[in-house]
C-alpha cells in the first residue's frame, strides 16, 4: 500500500470530494493564495478557482456563520480554522447555530458543513495556541466530532464528514501533518462512529483518540517489554461514539486507562469512564485511570511543557497502576 503524509491524506480527501460534488467548497484563512497555513490545500486555488477556494479575513465568527448559512441552503462548505484555538471565536456560530438550527426548525434545515483544522499542542506555542478542544464540541448535541490520528483515518473520516448531512467537527493533530502512513488506494471512507483497535492486547486497554493514539502505541510498546499486553483502542469518532468497542475492550482486559490531550474536568475521558462504570461495572478489576494534560494553561518553557503534556511514560505508569503492579 502507498504511504501518504497526514497532510496529503487530508488534501486528497478534500480534492476528491470537491471533484465529486461541486457544492463542496473550502473557506478559511490562508487557504487559497498562501496554499493553506499548514499546506493542506496546496494547489487548490489553481485547481478549483477562487469561487471554491475562498480566502477570508481574520473573522472566525463571520466566516463560520457564512459557511453555516451556505450549508442551510444546500451547499456543503468546508470551513478551515487555522487552528481550533481561533475557532473559539466562532463557538457561537458552531454551537448556537450549526448545532441547533436543524432541531429548532423541526427538521427543516439540515446543515451539511465541516469545520476542520488542527487542535492540541504543538511545540512551545504557549497557552493560547496549545488547546485540545474536543470537549467543547462533543458536549453539544447536534454536532458530530471526529479525531483522526493516522493518515488513513484522516482521509477516510474527512470524506465521511464532508458527505454527512450534519455539522461535523474534524479535529486534526497539529503535529501529525508530516506523519506518514499507509492509505488505501481509491475510494477510502471511514464511517463515523467506528472505533479501531490499533493494537491488540489482553492485559490492559488504553483507550484514546486523535494524536494521542501515537502516544498510546509508544506506551504499549514499552509495556510489551515488561510482558504486558496492552490493547490500544482509537475511538476515531467522539460523537457518534463507538460504545460497543469500548465495552468490548473492557470485557477483554478488565482494566482501562483513558488517554487524552485535553484537560481532565468534564473531559472526553470523564464521559468514557462514566460509560464504563455504568455499562461495564462488573467487568472492571480496577478503577479506570485517565492520563490528561496537566490541569493548567499550557506553559511555554520547554521543560514545563513536557511536564504538562501526556507522555508515554505517564500512560505506562497508569497501566501499571490498574494492573496493580
Amino acid at each position: 500500500m502507498r504511504e501518504l503524509t497526514y497532510r496529503e491524506a487530508l488534501s486528497e480527501a478534500m480534492a476528491e470530494e470537491m471533484e465529486r460534488d461541486e457544492s463542496v467548497f473550502l473557506m478559511g484563512e490562508e487557504v487559497g493564495v498562501y496554499n493553506g497555513a499548514y499546506k493542506v490545500s496546496r494547489g487548490f486555488l489553481d485547481r478549483f478557482g477562487p469561487q471554491r477556494v475562498v480566502d477570508t479575513p481574520i473573522s472566525e465568527a463571520g466566516f463560520a456563520g457564512i459557511g453555516i448559512g451556505a450549508a442551510m441552503v444546500g451547499l456543503r462548505p468546508i470551513i478551515e480554522f487555522m487552528t481550533f484555538n481561533f475557532a473559539i471565536l466562532a463557538l457561537d456560530q458552531i454551537l448556537n447555530t450549526a448545532a441547533k438550527t436543524y432541531y429548532m426548525s423541526g427538521g427543516q434545515i439540515p446543515i451539511p458543513i465541516v469545520f476542520r483544522g488542527p487542535t492540541g499542542a504543538a511545540l512551545q506555542l504557549a497557552a493560547q495556541h496549545s488547546q485540545a478542544v474536543e470537549t467543547q464540541y462533543t458536549h453539544s448535541p447536534g454536532i458530530k466530532v471526529v479525531t483522526p490520528g493516522t493518515p488513513a483515518d484522516a482521509k477516510g473520516l474527512l470524506k465521511a464528514a464532508i458527505r454527512d448531512d450534519d455539522p461535523v467537527v474534524v479535529l486534526e493533530g497539529e503535529l501529525l501533518y508530516n506523519v506518514k502512513g499507509e492509505v488505501p488506494e481509491g475510494e477510502h471512507i471511514v464511517p463515523l462512529g467506528v472505533a479501531e483497535v490499533k493494537r491488540e492486547g489482553s492485559d490492559v486497554s488504553i483507550i484514546t483518540h486523535g494524536k494521542m493514539v501515537h502516544v498510546a502505541l509508544q506506551a504499549a510498546a514499552r509495556l510489551a517489554k515488561d510482558q504486558i499486553s496492552a490493547e490500544v483502542l482509537d475511538l476515531r469518532s467522539l460523537r457518534p461514539l463507538d460504545v460497543d468497542a469500548i465495552l468490548t475492550t473492557v470485557a477483554k482486559t478488565n482494566r482501562v486507562v483513558y488517554l487524552e490531550e485535553g484537560w481532565p474536568l468534564a473531559g472526553v475521558g470523564a464521559e468514557i469512564v462514566n460509560i464504563i462504570q455504568e455499562e461495564a461495572f462488573d467487568e472492571l478489576d480496577a478503577p479506570v485511570l485517565r492520563v490528561t494534560q496537566a490541569d493548567v494553561p499550557m506553559p511555554y518553557a520547554k521543560n514545563l511543557e513536557q511536564l504538562a503534556k501526556p507522555s508515554a511514560q505517564r500512560v505506562v505508569d497508569a497501566c501499571n497502576r490498574v494492573l496493580y503492579r
Binding site: 448559512g69 423541526g106 427543516q108 464511517p191
Partner: protein
C-alpha cells in the same frame, strides 16, 4: 466626530428623519390595501399572542412586534417569494408577512406539533423553509453572517435571488455584524440588511452605547446605506425594493436603518416603560407615529379608503387571528417521540449519537428516512405555508 454626534442626536427625532415626502410611492390601491391589511393582521395577531401569553397558553420569552409593523410589511412586500428572509426573535409578524400561515405561527407559539417548527422552536425560532423564511434567532447578531451565507450560496449558484436580513439596533454593536458586513462587501453578496432601530436594545437606548447613527456604520465597509422612517410602510418598501434590485444586479449588499418604535416591553416579561423610557414618550409615539394610522390617513386623504373598507379589513384579519388561536389551542402537543428527532439529519449506522440514558438506540429508528439536502422534500417537513390554512 462632532458632526457625527450631532447627526446621531438629531437622528433620534422622528421629525428630522430623511423621510420621503408624504407619498404613496405610486403604488396601486390594491397594493396599499394589502399593506394595510397585512399590518392590521400583524397587529391583531400580536394582540392575540399577548392575550394568550397572559393566560399561560404561550410560555418562555415572547417579543411583540406592535408598533413596528410597517418595517416587516414594507420590506417583505418589496422582495420576491423565492428571496430569503432571516431575522431575529421579534419575528411573529415577519413570519406571517413572508407567507407562514397565522395558524402555524400561533401553534408554534403554543408549542404544538402543528407549529411551523413542530413545536421545537417557539416564539423566537419560527421557520418555514418552503416559503424561504429561514428562521428567527435569539443570539443578538448571531444570524447576521447566516444571511451572508445565503447570499454566498446565491452567488455561488449564479441565482438572482436576494436575502433580506432583519436585525435590531443593538445587533450593530456585535462583532459578527462588522465581520459579516466586511465580507459581504468584499464578496458583493446579495444581502439587504434592514436594521430595525426601535431605539432601545432591551432597556438601553442606542445613543447611550453608540456614537454614530446606525446607517453610517455601513460606510466603514463601503456599503450603501440609508435611514428611513420605519413607521412609513411606503418608505420602507421603496428603500428595500431599490436595494434589493441593486443586489439582484450583482452590486452587493446594502443597509437600511428603519427608524421605528416598539409599543410594548422588550418581551412580555418586561415593562412597557420605566426607568429607561417614560410613559409619556410611549404614548406620544403611539398617538403620533402609528404605522397603521399613518397609512390609513394618507389613503383617506386621497380617497383610497373609507371607514367601511377599514372595518371590513379589520374584521377579516380578526377572523383570521381568531381562527389561528382556535387552531393552535385545538392542536395536539408534540408527541414525546419527537424529543430525539431532528437533532441529526444523518443518523449514523455506527456508534451512539446520544449519550444520555433516556436515549440509547431509540434515535436510530425513530427518525424517518433521510431527506435530501436542498431538495423540496427537505424543505417541506414541518413548516406550513399560508395555503395550508
Amino acid at each position: 466626530m462632532a458632526k457625527s454626534r450631532t447627526s446621531l442626536r438629531s437622528g433620534l427625532e422622528t421629525a428630522d428623519l430623511p423621510r420621503p415626502p408624504k407619498s404613496l410611492g405610486g403604488l396601486s390601491r390594491e397594493a396599499l390595501l394589502d399593506f394595510l391589511k397585512e399590518m392590521l393582521l400583524s397587529r391583531r395577531f400580536e394582540e392575540a399572542a399577548e392575550e394568550a401569553y397572559a393566560i399561560g397558553k404561550i410560555g418562555g420569552f415572547c417579543h411583540l412586534y406592535i408598533g413596528q409593523e410597517a418595517v416587516g410589511v414594507g420590506a417583505i412586500r418589496a422582495i420576491r417569494p423565492d428571496d430569503y428572509v432571516i431575522t431575529a426573535y421579534r419575528e411573529h409578524a415577519q413570519a406571517i408577512n413572508k407567507g407562514i400561515s397565522p395558524r402555524a405561527v400561533m401553534a408554534e407559539l403554543f408549542g404544538r406539533s402543528t407549529g411551523c417548527s413542530g413545536g421545537k422552536g417557539g416564539s423566537m425560532h419560527l421557520f418555514d423553509a418552503s416559503v424561504n423564511f429561514m428562521g428567527g434567532y435569539a443570539i443578538v447578531g448571531g444570524h447576521v453572517p447566516l444571511a451572508a451565507g445565503f447570499g454566498w450560496a446565491i452567488k455561488y449558484r449564479g441565482e438572482d435571488r436576494v436575502c433580506l436580513c432583519f436585525l435590531g439596533d443593538a445587533a450593530v454593536n456585535q462583532g459578527s455584524f462588522h465581520e459579516t458586513l466586511n465580507m459581504a462587501a468584499v464578496w458583493k453578496l446579495p444581502v439587504v440588511y434592514v436594521v430595525e432601530n426601535n431605539e432601545y436594545g432591551m432597556g438601553t437606548a442606542y445613543a447611550r452605547v453608540s456614537t454614530l447613527p446606525i446607517f453610517e456604520r455601513a460606510c466603514s465597509y463601503d456599503i450603501p446605506s440609508t435611514a428611513v422612517d420605519g413607521q412609513d410602510v411606503v418608505a420602507v418598501h421603496t428603500a428595500v425594493r431599490e436595494y434589493a434590485e441593486r443586489a439582484r444586479r450583482g452590486e452587493g449588499p446594502s443597509l437600511i436603518e428603519a427608524r421605528t418604535y416598539r409599543y410594548k416591553g422588550h418581551s412580555m416579561s418586561d415593562p412597557v416603560h420605566g426607568v429607561y423610557r417614560s410613559k409619556e414618550e410611549v404614548e406620544d409615539r403611539m398617538s403620533h407615529a402609528d404605522p397603521i394610522v399613518l397609512l390609513r390617513s394618507r389613503m383617506e386623504a386621497v380617497g383610497l379608503i373609507d371607514q367601511a373598507t377599514m372595518d371590513a379589513l379589520d374584521n377579516e384579519v380578526r377572523a383570521v387571528v381568531a381562527d389561528a388561536v382556535k387552531f393552535a389551542d385545538a392542536s395536539p402537543v408534540a408527541d414525546p417521540s419527537q424529543l430525539y428527532t431532528h437533532v441529526y439529519h444523518s443518523l449514523d449506522v455506527h456508534g451512539r449519537l446520544f449519550l444520555d440514558r433516556m436515549n440509547r438506540s431509540a434515535a436510530k429508528v425513530s427518525e424517518g428516512v433521510g431527506r435530501g439536502v436542498g431538495g423540496g422534500e427537505a424543505r417541506g417537513g414541518v413548516g406550513a405555508n399560508r395555503k395550508d390554512s
